[in-house]
């Protein structure tokens, strides 16, 4: 029975990823077109819904070119080192309320948030390896740019997450969501009026860092696809490139799931879900709420991307180190002070 549950939950998570992921590729192309006054791809299938399938078929049909002088193993490994960590991260995301005794979460880790942070850091290796193994100085430079950016923003990301951990007093994502379902979402201070500014600030910080971690515009240092050759995946063709591309969208779903879990109440929505209702129907509704939030939040990623131009490199560094990091530190300090002096809990 446990095995069946586990398989079912893994299937559900993979289902969410592999429907939302390609859906995002399509949404990216069509939404960008709408924002620019165009129509976008609308020929393959009704409203172009089969366009991602056509894209993937096209990529698979192309030749895999491994350039001369590359480290073949690392070169072929690179895309998968980017692709696997976001999939791993999904293991600890609670994507629904518990049904009976089963929590809708693939791996019930009590250090889930720490696990997520470590998994998010691993993605840097894939990018650096891909750039380094390509035996191309432009790829190498691109991967270094990306690595510098990812490491800079990881700091603020961690601090923003830490503020939520302090709200909840726990690093267990399940517990964090349950507290939000009972008391109020963390973006609104987790039910405490004192923490409202901290919650909002923390949300903005985490959202910004999530964009940066995914190499999304306006933090597009990794690729600069608008004007440069293409950064770390210049030398990749066929599915190597495809996997890099798809990994970006899977990472988007993961970071959106992270933001939702930590700040936007996870699977909870007032009057729709009840943390004490463990029936199957309530569980299904909670999953639907989670997926809806996921889709809406990832759509805002795309919206932001096609609104903002890319930052200059020094502006990215200045924003990360001189503005976001002090804000995150100040936020943590404020949460700590309010926790000790107002709410009286250490």
């Amino acid at each position: 029975m446990t095995w069946l549950w586990l398989l079912g939950k893994i299937g559900a998570v993979l289902g969410i990823i592999f429907v939302v992921g390609p859906g995002l590729i399509l949404a990216e192309r069509r939404l960008s077109a709408f924002i620019q006054g165009r129509l976008g791809p609308n020929r393959v299938g009704p409203f172009g819904v089969l366009q991602p399938v056509a894209d993937i078929i096209k990529l698979i049909m192309k030749e895999v070119i491994v350039p001369q002088g590359t480290d073949r193993t690392l070169f072929l490994l690179g895309p998968f080192l980017v692709f696997v960590p976001p999939l791993l991260g999904w293991a600890v995301i609670p994507f629904g309320n518990q049904i009976g005794e089963e929590h809708l979460q693939v791996a019930n880790l009590n250090i889930g948030v720490l696990f997520l942070m470590s998994v998010l850091s691993v993605g840097v290796y894939g990018i650096t390896l891909g750039g380094w193994a390509s035996n191309n100085k432009y790829s190498l430079l691109g991967s270094l740019r990306a690595a510098a950016q990812l490491i800079s923003y990881e700091l603020t990301l961690g601090l923003a997450i830490l503020s939520v951990v302090m709200f909840a007093g726990s690093v267990d994502p399940q517990r964090i969501v349950e507290l939000q379902a009972r008391n109020g979402w963390n973006i609104f201070g987790g039910g405490s009026l004192w923490l409202l500014p901290s919650g909002l600030l923390g949300f903005v910080l985490l959202y910004t860092c999530a964009l940066a971690e995914n190499n999304r515009l306006p933090f597009d240092m990794a690729e600069c696809e608008a004007e440069l050759v293409g950064g770390y995946h210049t030398e990749y063709s066929s599915m190597g490139f495809g996997v890099y591309m798809f990994a970006e969208y899977v990472a988007m779903t993961l970071s959106a799931a992270l933001v939702i879990t930590l700040f936007l109440g996870g699977w909870h929505f007032p009057y729709l879900t009840n943390p004490d209702d463990h029936s199957v129907a309530a569980g299904v509704i909670s999953v639907a709420v989670f997926v809806t939030k996921l889709v809406l939040l990832t759509l805002t990623y795309i919206w932001v991307r096609w609104t903002l131009p890319r930052f200059r490199y020094d502006q990215i560094m200045s924003l990360g180190w001189r503005r976001l990091l002090p804000l995150a530190l100040g936020n943590i300090g404020a949460v700590a002070l309010i926790g000790v002096f107002v709410q009286g809990s250490p």
Partner: protein, 160 residues
């Protein structure tokens, strides 16, 4: 404002201006404005023409393929005066004149060819023509599989 003047400002003002600069540096208001603008654009009508079904309609005065006009009796208006051939900067017009069967003109073209691959669509032939016999149409879709097909003879030009 130079450095010493800034130091003389009261502390409260200096703190406030620093905070303002910090807030602007976070880009938040500008970003929200931008998001609102792009959202408006998603709702606007699109510029895209769905090509095989919809065609672009050229503006008035567009210079496309040439046409030789006919008069009321269905005869070509052209009197083979060579004005267009002379005016043509690309030298794409070839005219061979022959004797006219009608009493109102001396010559008619026996052969009138335009090489559309040489033509630069400047419209000089249309301007040079004293009889208003040649003009440029709005046709812009030109497809052919050989170069020879793009050399239009008189019959083809009259049909345009």
């Amino acid at each position: 404002m130079n450095h010493t003047a800034a130091q003389r400002l009261p502390l409260g003002l200096r703190v406030r201006s620093a905070l303002t600069r910090f807030a602007i540096g976070l880009y938040v208001p500008a970003i929200l404005q931008g998001l609102a603008k792009t959202f408006q654009w998603t709702l606007r009508p699109k510029f895209t023409l769905q090509y095989p079904e919809e065609h672009h309609i050229p503006r008035k005065g567009y210079r496309g393929e040439h046409r030789l006009k006919k008069d009321e009796q269905g005869r070509p208006k052209c009197v083979a005066c060579f004005m267009c051939q002379t005016a043509c900067p690309a030298e794409c017009i070839t005219i061979v004149a022959g004797e006219s069967p009608w009493p109102d003109r001396e010559k008619v073209p026996v052969k009138f060819e335009i090489d559309l691959l040489k033509c630069i669509y400047c419209g000089m032939c249309e301007e040079a023509c004293p009889c208003d016999a040649i003009e440029l149409t709005q046709t812009y879709t030109q497809v052919s599989t050989t170069r020879q097909e793009k050399v239009y003879d008189m019959e083809r030009l009259l049909r345009n």
